[in-house]
């Protein structure tokens, strides 16, 4: 296994790099989008609520692979998108629906008295959300959000299906080249663990820190 790794180190490391890049972009993008769609669902405007709900229901109920293929095959015909970009967009949108639901649940879990206090105090809906409700909601959703982030990293392996150059893609390539259908995937699994384990532990640390 070690010799397989050393002889293909640059491919593995390249894949690791693309996996990290895709994950970081999708993590930031899906958090921003997720927060946006969570707010869209609770803003006091029925049309906005409907738009938010439709987006979330559609996106989270379609397999990630289908969304990704849609961007790689259909959208890439109109706009020039390579596999990495299509895959990262698919990953971002898919994850954003789950993050939106997670954040919305967090907002709903904040005592409604906090919101009423802010509104009765003269603050606008947005001011009350921004300064009072959201900070408390984010606090509550750190553990489930951490799970979403770990899922996101694992789901980034979808890039392999659209030639996204990521870890999983490299494992497939090396496997085909060397006829070794075992070791490349073990090595890739270790790389994924190097990303997800520290993240899991960090999230647990945040959770425990917040509990006090």
């Amino acid at each position: 296994m070690w010799s397989l790794f050393t002889s293909h180190a640059s491919e593995f490391l390249t894949g690791f790099g693309w996996t990290i890049l895709s994950s970081v972009i999708a993590l930031i993008g899906s958090t921003i989008l997720g927060l946006g769609f969570a707010l869209l669902q609770i803003v006091p405007n029925r049309w906005a609520n409907l738009v938010g709900k439709i987006y979330i229901e559609i996106v989270r109920n379609i397999p990630l692979l289908v969304i990704t293929m849609f961007f790689y095959v259909v959208v890439a015909n109109i706009f020039k998108l390579n596999g990495f970009i299509s895959g990262t967009i698919g990953l971002t949108l898919y994850t954003s629906a789950f993050i939106a639901e997670t954040i919305r649940a967090g907002i709903n879990a904040v005592d409604s008295g906090q919101y009423e206090g802010g509104r009765a105090n003269g603050m606008s809906w947005w001011e009350t959300m921004r300064y009072i409700v959201l900070p408390q909601a984010i606090h509550l959703v750190i553990p489930p959000l951490g799970n979403q982030f770990v899922n996101l990293i694992k789901n980034s392996s979808v890039l392999a299906f659209v030639a996204g150059l990521d870890l999983m893609y490299q494992a497939n390539m090396i496997s085909q080249l060397t006829f070794d259908t075992f070791n490349p995937y073990i090595i890739v699994a270790i790389f994924y663990l190097m990303l997800t384990m520290p993240l899991s532990y960090y999230m647990r640390y945040l959770e425990e820190k917040n509990a006090h």
């Binding site: 008295g113 906090q114 009423e116 206090g117 105090n121 003269g122 603050m123 606008s124 001011e127 009072i132």
Partner: protein, 244 residues
């Protein structure tokens, strides 16, 4: 000039008729206490005044603004009409001082130095200067309610609504809160509406008593008259059940 005016106001929660043909006028500077058995609509009524509850019929004018009109800017209205809640509703993620300073900063754009001075002055008034940098979870119920009152006063409102401000407090905490409310009531320019079960406070401070049951106003009388000669049978029953 009337500060608050209800005309034939109706309110429903689904099929439940929460407020029945409410007619009520409160003059600027008046202190009015709302009494009645639980579930009579007192809290609902007081919550319509700052738009926390909508109304389904009639007219409600508060500080010259029409609450039946969906275009009315509730944020503007709430600058002038503060509210103190049964469960305090202090911002759990903010310090005591920030709880008081945040709305004047954001809503009134009050200068930061002046804002802090006002907030510290109010904390002194409610006897909590030493708690300024603590968080709400570190305070007792009575202290929280005093902060909540200070928070409302920081907006320099024309009217204050109190929704059972002492009902969630331990008995030994009640007097500290009532004392502050009494002081506010003495300010002749402040309009106060208080939902409470504190009869002593009502007798001592209220100009008028409104008695509600089943979503209706059954009696609206000067305080002394209400306690000595209540006209309605339901009001008499209610008063006789209160242990003095």
């Amino acid at each position: 000039m009337s500060m608050i005016e209800f005309k034939d106001v109706e309110k429903y929660y689904g099929d439940f008729h929460a407020l029945h043909d409410i007619n009520l006028e409160v003059e600027a500077g008046e202190t009015v206490v709302l009494l009645g058995p639980s579930g009579s609509g007192k809290s609902t009524l007081i919550r319509t005044i700052n738009g926390l509850e909508s109304i389904e019929g009639g007219q409600l004018i508060v500080n010259n603004q029409d609450l039946a009109n969906p275009k009315t800017d509730l944020n503007r209205l709430r600058k002038d009409v503060g509210m103190v809640f049964q469960h305090f509703n202090l911002y759990d993620n903010k310090t005591i001082l920030e709880n008081i300073m945040i709305a004047p900063r954001l809503v009134l754009k009050r200068d930061e130095a002046e804002n802090k001075e006002t907030a510290m002055g109010l904390l002194e008034r409610v006897g909590l200067t030493d708690q300024a940098n603590k968080y709400p979870s570190q305070l007792s119920g009575g202290q929280k309610q005093r902060v909540a009152i200070a928070r409302s006063l920081a907006m320099k409102p024309k009217a204050l609504l109190f929704d059972e401000p002492t009902s969630a407090l331990d008995p030994e905490m009640v007097n500290g809160v009532l004392k502050i409310m009494r002081e506010i009531a003495q300010d002749s320019s402040m309009t106060m509406l208080v939902v409470t079960h504190e009869m002593g406070f009502a007798k001592q401070v209220a100009d008028r008593v409104i008695f509600m049951a089943d979503g209706k106003i059954l009696e609206d009388a000067p305080t002394a008259k209400f306690f000595e000669h209540p006209e309605e049978e339901r009001a008499r029953q209610f008063l006789s059940q209160i242990v003095h």
